[in-house]
């Protein structure tokens, strides 16, 4: 089931925003070249918030150990030892509101 | 300009051996040069070993992260030496003054060279020569400075002998562990 997250206007170009969802781990929403990306607000390396990181050249940068994740594929670059790739949730912008499929398997966009 | 004369570039091809006669002559040149430097025969060194078009460069070594694209040194940044012939000559003039106090009393020098590789280049008159060195200075009672490093030289064949046309000197120290450099490399 798609879950309503927030108005899409709250996600500015080049920014990452954290959204708390009742009963589920918090998610992060990023906007890059207009498109929206939704992923767990938790770096797969050390569980730090990715919303406290930033976007750079089409990648999410974790602000703690500087792992870089491709927005296209989730592939990790510059990984700390043992850091897996990032997974994304299916999402869409329905009339100005962001929805994402947070249950079931995460799916890379 | 040939790449090997570009002071900012390392030697590209270190697999072009020279004939045995050339090898022997350049080895003799290298050993004679350091013998002159050991003896502080700086004016003769300048006159007999150094090409008038010399570029003599010794950058200082920065400590940087491996992913820093600037690397440990770059031409145009700060350096210990970045000299033409006339600038080397200024340094030699100082040594020639009796009031060059850092050399009076006399400093005891030893230049050791090793790891010598002599290579031909695209120009038949030019040779690319790599060597490693240990530069030892001792003066007064117990003041000792030892500097290790590498040199990348270009020698030019002239008048049946050789002249130093380009020298890049890379030492292994970041903070120079000496109060001065009253020596050549």
């Amino acid at each position: 089931m798609m879950i309503e997250l927030c108005p899409s206007a709250e996600i500015a170009e080049g920014e990452i925003k954290r959204v708390d969802v009742e009963g589920l781990p918090a998610v992060a929403i990023a906007r890059h070249e207009g498109a929206l990306y939704v992923f767990p607000d938790r770096c797969p390396h050390a569980d730090e918030s990715l919303a406290e990181g930033w976007l750079e050249d089409g990648r999410v940068i974790c602000g703690v150990h500087f792992a870089e994740f491709d927005l296209d594929t989730g592939e990790v670059h510059n990984p700390p030892v043992g850091c897996p790739n990032l997974s994304f949730f299916k999402c869409e912008d329905r009339d100005g509101t962001v929805f994402a499929l947070l249950t079931g398997d995460n799916a890379n966009v | 300009m040939l790449d090997i004369l570009d002071i900012s570039k390392p030697f590209a091809d270190m697999d072009r051996p020279v004939d045995i006669e050339t090898e022997r002559a350049i080895m003799r040149w290298l050993h004679a040069e350091v013998r002159y430097l050991d003896a502080e025969r700086y004016q003769e060194w300048l006159n007999d070993f150094i090409d008038p078009e010399i570029h003599y460069w010794m950058p200082d070594m920065e400590t940087r992260r491996r992913d820093d694209p600037r690397g440990m040194f770059a031409y145009g940044e700060s350096a210990y030496f970045d000299d033409t012939w006339s600038e080397l000559n200024i340094r030699v003039k100082r040594y020639n003054e009796p009031s060059a106090w850092a050399d009076n009393p006399q400093t005891r020098h030893l230049h050791q060279i090793s790891n010598i590789e002599i290579n031909a280049t695209d120009d038949p008159t030019l040779f690319a020569v790599h060597s490693a060195f240990t530069n030892v200075r001792n003066r007064n009672e117990a003041d000792q400075d030892i500097i290790h490093g590498r040199r990348e030289d270009v020698l030019r064949a002239v008048d049946g002998g050789y002249r130093l046309l380009r020298r890049r000197v890379f030492i292994v120290q970041n903070v120079l562990l000496s109060k001065n450099l009253n020596t050549f490399f």
């Binding site: 569980d47 | 700060s78 340094r91 003054e97 106090w101 009253n182």
Partner: protein, 467 residues
């Protein structure tokens, strides 16, 4: 443990607030400077206890030079340097300001930054346990998914210790570990009048070019600092060989020495100058630089007035108390970092006007290398003097002997309308006496009110002299 009110830390949790040491008072050490007899006791150069007192009284309180703005133009750009023996990182923040932090992880103390400098750093990660700090010094996270599960762990309470105050003056960034220190401008007093000779002689300001050259000299840090504060006398003897090599003659103070040359000192900062326009610049050995200095001197009259315009390239030297020095005209800027009573690490940069033509900047870079770097024909002969001035005092009897600092003891110039303590002639020990007087004030006083109102403060007459 925190008893509450510890930057918001919960009661009973570790108090990780930064600690800024309080100054004390060392009247016995202050007496090692004998103003009456113009003598300095040699123990100030060798004694370990005096040295430890210097770290506490002087280096933990004074505004110390950190970097030039031009070295770190963009957010995340940083340099690593020292304040006294304390390793610090100086980093440009996202809002354009500059902060500085102790380079030591609050976990086990390891350095978090190992390199000399870097560009656009995302932060600093300790190699030991992966503790990660933002460029703002805040702890961003750790490694191993361990601390996150420990509910008592208060990340927000932990960070790199900030240098208490950071400020800049016309491109030069300074910092102090003392939260109670007077402002940078008050620390300088009217000495900014003289700093502007180099820092404000051209529109567009200044920059450092190239990197830094670092070297070790086995001497007490005060010998080079006092040398630059006002010892042009040594140039004639020490640097005879260098002057011969470059100029083909001796050091020349200009024809109008008696009329023009002077020393000025405020709060221990001092400059000596001969106002001969290009004497220092000439020693770099490039005629183009001499032309540039002459032109600059003419042009700068509007900004600085006639007197200071003559000083830009003149035979001169300057120390900002305690350990930051430069040579106008030769454009070498340097810090003498203490490394124990008998060792320094010298760091040297070249300063140029941003608007100077490229070939002029290049000649300054090469000229400084040829004269005032470890292989330079002038600096070459300084080190051994300072090393043996320091080392001979290992002799028990030797270090009981007085040292003579009395040249020009009656040379105070009460007429000249310039800021600070003015003495006639640059060949004078006056600035060195005032440098050590300032040193004694720091040893004696545990508060800034006394520090700013002692004998080294500018005499009242100068209140209006700086215009």
């Amino acid at each position: 443990m925190c008893e509450g009110d510890c930057k918001g830390a919960a009661k009973g949790r570790p108090n990780m607030k930064p600690v800024y040491p309080k100054a004390g008072s060392y009247p016995d050490f202050a007496k090692l400077v004998d103003r009456e007899n113009a003598q300095v006791d040699r123990r100030v150069f060798t004694d370990e206890q005096v040295y430890q007192a210097e770290l506490r009284q002087i280096f933990a309180r004074s505004w110390l030079f950190l970097a030039h703005e031009s070295q770190i133009p963009n957010p995340g750009d940083f340099v690593r340097t020292s304040m006294g023996e304390d390793d610090v990182i100086v980093v440009r923040q996202r809002d354009g300001s500059v902060n500085a932090f102790l380079n030591s992880c609050p976990h086990r103390g390891n350095r978090v930054c190992m390199v000399d400098a870097g560009k656009k750093a995302r932060g600093f990660i300790c190699n030991y346990h992966g503790w990660s700090f933002g460029i703002d010094g805040a702890l961003r996270g750790t490694d191993g998914k361990v601390y996150e599960k420990d509910e008592t762990f208060e990340k927000a309470q932990i960070g790199l210790t900030p240098v208490a105050q950071v400020d800049s003056y016309k491109g030069l960034i300074f910092g102090t570990f003392d939260p109670d220190a007077v402002s940078l401008l008050e620390f300088f007093g009217d000495f900014t009048y003289y700093l502007d000779i180099m820092l404000d002689n051209d529109e567009g300001g200044t920059e450092f070019i190239g990197g830094a050259i670092k070297s070790e000299i086995d001497c007490n840090w005060k010998f080079p600092a006092e040398n630059f504060v006002g010892d042009i006398l040594h140039a004639f003897w020490t640097h005879q060989s260098g002057a011969q090599a470059i100029l083909g003659g001796g050091v020349d103070l200009g024809k109008r020495y008696d009329e023009l040359a002077f020393q000025a000192s405020i709060y221990g900062h001092g400059i000596e100058t001969n106002l001969d326009k290009v004497g220092n610049t000439r020693t770099l050995g490039y005629p183009d630089l001499v032309d540039y200095a002459f032109e600059l001197s003419e042009k700068a009259k509007d900004r600085l007035g006639e007197l200071r315009a003559r000083a830009i390239g003149a035979v001169s030297s300057c120390t900002v108390f305690p350990n930051f020095s430069f040579l106008p005209g030769q454009n070498t800027f340097r810090v003498w970092h203490p490394r124990g009573p008998g060792k320094i690490e010298l760091v040297v940069w070249t300063l140029v006007n941003k608007n100077a033509p490229d070939h002029i900047k290049e000649q300054y870079r090469k000229g400084v290398m040829m004269t005032f770097s470890p292989g330079g024909v002038f600096e070459m002969d300084d080190g051994e003097n300072w090393e043996y001035s320091t080392r001979v005092n290992q002799g028990f009897v030797t270090r009981q002997q007085p040292l003579h600092y009395a040249l020009g003891i009656e040379s105070a110039d009460m007429e000249r309308d310039l800021p600070g303590h003015i003495h006639k002639g640059s060949l004078n020990d006056a600035n060195q006496r005032l440098f050590y007087t300032r040193w004694a004030e720091f040893m004696e006083h545990d508060n800034w009110t006394d520090l700013q109102n002692g004998a080294t403060a500018a005499p009242k007459k100068t209140a209006t002299a700086a215009e």
